[in-house]
């Protein structure tokens, strides 16, 4: 979020999208460079991590899977904050931020689901189990897609902003409930044939690369989010320019 990179007290300067564009343009090249560097280091560390005695080289998937799962939740938190920004402070950039974060969050969630599936295949012998954790991530994915579908369905940005903010917040409040109920559902019905993913105490050899990867992923999110916000602002500018052009064309 742009607000996080700004000095406190100057937040309201960002209300001006032109100002935001200037700052985003200035920050993005550096941010992108740091992101790539961090990702390269993280990947190097991950590939040099020792093989797990149980999982073999498939443990490498963890370095993608776990940060993706974290980011899927962080992106939604950013969206929920942006939704508050829209509803409470009516900040013009809050809606832009929400819209821009949704596809990125959905992509991370998708990545988490895919990598989890690839990881699970050798361990569980099947691509998917209706385990409580997997299921609640799937539900989160559906919520993301629902928000994106809603954003696409309403063309007028100012009308869409409120609707999106409300849905995002209701979803945010509901996610812990879903998680809770799914946990409860699954402990009732979980058949014994499906082995659960064990929770080994993590060795430092895994932990450090994982931390670097998590940082890299956070930076990826920030970079993509800023870029997408910039695109969204440009898209709106294009829209209003076209409307202006329509108004000026040949009188009424």
């Amino acid at each position: 979020m742009a607000e996080l990179t700004a000095k406190a007290g100057s937040i309201w300067d960002f209300a001006n999208p032109a100002r935001f564009m200037g700052i985003a343009n200035a920050v993005l090249p550096g941010l992108a460079a740091v992101t790539v560097a961090c990702l390269a280091i993280g990947l190097w560390m991950a590939f040099n991590a020792p093989e797990d005695y149980q999982q073999g080289s498939s443990v490498l998937i963890m370095f993608i899977h776990v940060p993706s799962a974290w980011l899927s939740m962080m992106a939604y938190t950013v969206m929920a904050l942006a939704a508050l920004g829209t509803l409470v402070w009516r900040h013009p950039l809050a809606d832009v931020s929400l819209r821009a974060a949704a596809p990125i969050g959905a992509a991370f969630t998708f990545l988490a689901l895919i990598t989890g599936s690839l990881w699970g295949k050798p361990m569980w012998g099947t691509w998917w189990v209706w385990d409580a954790r997997l299921t609640s991530v799937l539900v989160l994915f559906i919520i993301y897609l629902g928000i994106i579908a809603l954003a696409r369905a309403i063309e007028e940005p100012s009308v869409a902003a409120r609707a999106l903010a409300i849905v995002t917040l209701v979803g945010y409040v509901n996610i812990p409930i879903i998680k809770f109920s799914v946990d409860w559902w699954n402990t009732l019905h979980q058949p014994a044939s499906v082995s659960r993913l064990g929770r080994p105490a993590m060795d430092a050899a895994f932990l450090y690369p994982l931390m670097v990867m998590a940082l890299a992923y956070t930076l990826i999110f920030l970079t993509l989010h800023l870029m997408n916000m910039r695109n969204e602002i440009l898209r709106r500018r294009l829209r209003s320019m076209r409307m202006l052009a329509a108004r000026e064309a040949g009188g009424a």
Binding site: R152, H189, P191
Partner: protein, 219 residues
């Protein structure tokens, strides 16, 4: 006619149209089933073809009410009816475009949902094949429903009620063929050909009857 197909696809993919919604609805239906029947993978694998068929069926009912309604509201339907082409052909092309925009994504998504349901590769392949051949029938039958409800403000639910009973044969043979591919004594080819026959039958009957109704609703 080419132009009509391109226009319909464009409209389906522009902002404000719900091409994504169908797949999303399909995903939601498939996801809800394990919550209802429990996460028993063997059971899910057994009912998988049925779940995919019901999900795809419900999802393809979603956008049917928009097939002609918007064209009628903005006056396009009248102009479409005044072209040199037979109206039934126009309806047929609209159906094809509608299916390409809403049905094909469902079929593309079905294998992934099959994995969710722990289905075997052969069962998934058979179900996808029957869906590809069977879902156009939903659109062609739906065209009749959409035509008779075109003047109603809230025709969506009525269309679903009108169309669902008529697509039951496709559902029966489609699911039967999918099971036939995995369970040995049951045949695959026979029910599969039945699904294809039903689709071809309604590809003719649907547009003809829809055009007959629309001609008088066009004004």
């Amino acid at each position: 006619m080419n132009a009509l197909f391109v226009r319909e696809l464009r409209l389906a993919t522009r902002v404000g149209a719900g091409a994504l919604t169908g797949v999303l609805f399909f995903l939601a239906v498939v996801t809800v089933v394990p919550f209802a029947v429990g996460p028993d993978l063997n059971l899910l694998a057994r009912i998988g073809p049925a779940v995919l068929w019901v999900g795809a069926l419900l999802a393809s009912l979603l956008g049917l009410d928009r097939l002609f309604q918007q064209d009628r509201e903005d006056g396009s339907l009248a102009i479409l009816a005044m072209a040199g082409h037979p109206l039934a052909l126009t309806v047929f092309v609209k159906c094809l475009a509608h299916w390409a925009a809403t049905g094909l994504p469902l079929i593309a998504a079905a294998p992934v949902f099959g994995l969710f349901l722990n289905m075997e590769a052969t069962a998934i392949a058979a179900t996808v094949a029957t869906l590809a051949v069977g879902t156009p029938a939903v659109t062609f039958i739906g065209a009749v429903g959409a035509a008779v409800t075109v003047t109603l403000a809230r025709g969506g639910l009525i269309i679903a009620i009108l169309v669902l009973p008529l697509v039951i044969p496709s559902l029966i043979f489609g699911v039967a063929a999918s099971y036939g591919a995995v369970e040995d004594p049951a045949p695959f080819t026979q029910p599969f050909l039945m699904v294809a026959a039903i689709t071809l039958f309604f590809a003719v009957l649907g547009p003809l009857s829809a055009a007959f109704v629309l001609r008088h609703a066009a004004e």
